[in-house]
């Protein structure tokens, strides 16, 4: 298994009453409520926790990027990736992911990735994402071309990582008269690309068609089998047999010395009034042209208050469904073990701390995860045959899969 530590890096010191008063905690929630003194303290605490996670034997540390909201203090994925490349020793730096279409330069991402891969001595996983809809508003990147830009930026990124420059690029959305960055990725043919997502069928199929592992971001357990079926069908269509090495799962998992103490910390996963990305408006989450036309009516109904918005379940429901796991180490091992049995991911991101869990309790969570939970989960994973892409040394993508291993099935056969 590949076991990874994650925290969203909450700006937990923001005044919650102001968020409730404003009725929103994203996009337009004023940054006058951001206290940089507290921000500095929180960054230093996260740094200590990451170093502990590395020392305690996590296989990786996951970082991400979001904007204009207290739920995440990482507006540039490259910054924390760079810090981790320098201060950690063994853990892989798992970027989930670089928001390729949001910025105007895939070349800049390629340069960042090459630098990070070399500085970390080949410990980078350069995941990629479209970026959430509301990021398009915060960064002012046209949402109507987001998917096209994602596809093109990906193609260019892979070309930069795997082919010699100089070359020129004349795409629909990106043009370069010279592509010749004087930095190259250390891992060959390139760092692994993983694709995280919630439940977008288009993205799941895209990831499968490229043979990139899909990391399900805390998707409800009852939907996960359908997610993997969508992935597996697409994988077989393009000619390879998918397995646990193609599957990742991000799970809110808080550990403390006692179940009662862990419940206190676990409830902090609900801190943004229970919403994953804070309270926003549906028309920010799905700006024009961002979502699939197949969901146009539903999303437009939601945007205009004519269909119920999906709100998070209660803490009790989420723990009952194992979408949040909180407890003493043994309880967490048992519950996560059950998830490994049913979802069979080989990549597991343990989202340890959120909300106002303080540094002391966060450190204790990291310690208990690292010392007690991770070794047991590794054993369970082994017993279930959950081998990660690193253990199996799988090709990084379909493009770099030896041709004799590829045997596409006609779509009709799959449908039958």
């Amino acid at each position: 298994m590949f076991l990874c530590y994650f925290t969203e890096q909450p700006m937990s010191a923001y005044p919650e009453d102001e968020g409730l008063k404003a009725g929103i905690t994203s996009v337009l929630f004023s940054n006058k409520h951001f206290d940089p003194v507290e921000g500095s303290r929180l960054y230093r605490e996260r740094l200590a926790e990451y170093i502990a996670a590395d020392d305690l034997g996590f296989d990786g540390i996951m970082v991400n990027e979001h904007h204009n909201a207290p739920y995440c203090m990482q507006p540039r994925i490259t910054v924390w990736s760079s810090i981790l490349a320098a201060v950690t020793k063994k853990a892989k730096i798992v970027q989930l992911g670089n928001p390729l279409p949001m910025y105007d330069s895939p070349l800049a991402f390629a340069e960042d990735i090459a630098m990070l891969d070399m500085i970390s001595e080949g410990r980078l996983v350069s995941g990629i994402v479209r970026g959430a809809g509301q990021e398009a508003i915060c960064i002012n990147s046209n949402p109507a071309y987001n998917r096209e830009r994602f596809d093109e930026a990906h193609d260019l990124l892979v070309k930069i990582m795997t082919e010699d420059g100089p070359f020129h690029w004349e795409g629909e959305h990106f043009q370069y008269r010279v592509v010749n960055p004087w930095v190259r990725v250390l891992q060959q043919p390139h760092p692994r690309i993983w694709v995280p997502g919630v439940f977008s069928p288009e993205t799941i199929v895209w990831a499968a068609e490229h043979r990139y592992p899909y990391i399900a971001l805390n998707t409800p357990m009852h939907l996960t089998p359908q997610l993997w079926k969508t992935y597996d069908d697409a994988a077989r269509r393009v000619g390879y047999e998918p397995g646990p090495e193609n599957r990742g799962y991000l799970l809110r998992t808080h550990v403390a010395d006692t179940d009662a103490k862990a419940e206190q910390g676990g409830r902090e996963f609900m801190w943004m009034q229970g919403q994953f990305t804070g309270i926003g408006h549906p028309y920010w989450v799905s700006p024009p042209g961002y979502s699939s036309p197949s969901r146009r009516l539903l999303y437009t109904q939601m945007a205009n208050g004519l269909a119920p918005r999906p709100f998070a379940n209660s803490y009790e429901q989420q723990t009952a469904n194992r979408e949040i796991v909180a407890g003493s180490p043994q309880k967490v091992i048992d519950e996560v073990g059950h998830i490994l049995e049913t979802c069979r991911p080989s990549i597991l991101m343990l989202w340890g701390n959120d909300g106002k869990v303080d540094h002391k309790d966060s450190m204790r969570c990291v310690e208990l995860l690292g010392e007690k939970v991770v070794p047991e989960l590794r054993k369970i994973g082994d017993s279930l045959g959950l081998k990660s892409p690193f253990e199996l040394d799988t090709p990084v993508s379909l493009k770099f899969t030896p041709p004799h291993e590829v045997n596409p099935q006609p779509a009709r056969a799959v449908e039958a």
Binding site: V27, N140, N142, H281, Y283, P288, L297, A303
Partner: protein, 255 residues
Amino acid sequence: MQEFSSTVAGLTIRGVRGGEGHPVVVVHHSFGHPGPLRFYEELAAHHAAWVPDLPGFGASDRPDWARHPRDLAIILGHFLRREGLTRAALVGMGFGGWVVAELATMAPELLSHLVLVGAAGLLPEEGRIFDQILVSHSAYVSAAFNDRDVYTRLYGDPPTDDTLITWDVNREMMTRVAWKPYMYNRQMAPLLCEVNVPTLLVWGDADAIVPRVCAEQYQRLLPDARLEIVADCGHAVDMERPTELAELVARFVTS
């Protein structure tokens, strides 16, 4: 009014037309229109009224390649030539006003008259153009009305699924061509001095979408423009004051 379709640059342009006389072509708001309006009927009583859906809006095909309202203006110009409307009065509503103004800068000879109603296209010297991206479709469209009852009568309460889909399709097309900078073009203002076409500017005095100062800026920049303010009226003058606007246009075109 009857439906028409026309093919320009491989795209089918659909819309409604009716009446006889001097051609008057109406170009809709960014949110389109809720079917044939009384304004169109009243125009058609005295003119050959044409109301095309802009490319990518309503029932017209989307030019996937279009990246700017100027691209829509080019298609609109070819549409006018294709249909023989080469000395037409062009009436642009809001976003449609921007498209028409762009066309006027590149082919003023196509226009007999220019009517800009709450037109976007210029960066306001004060205030800003209401940003629909930050609000829901219904919040934006209703903000175009000073009289909420007119909005409700035209769009329903709640709006139908068909209305929602039309709003979203139109909002997506607006986004494809006018996301950034939003609703203005710094490259248009310096060309407006070449638009030697009699121009009527019409603004609702309670326009909450395009600030009134834009009317004054257009008046300064265009060689032959006068301004009419419609009292107690919002941005959607065509829907709130159809008779008054039709009369203003008719008087202007026949003068």
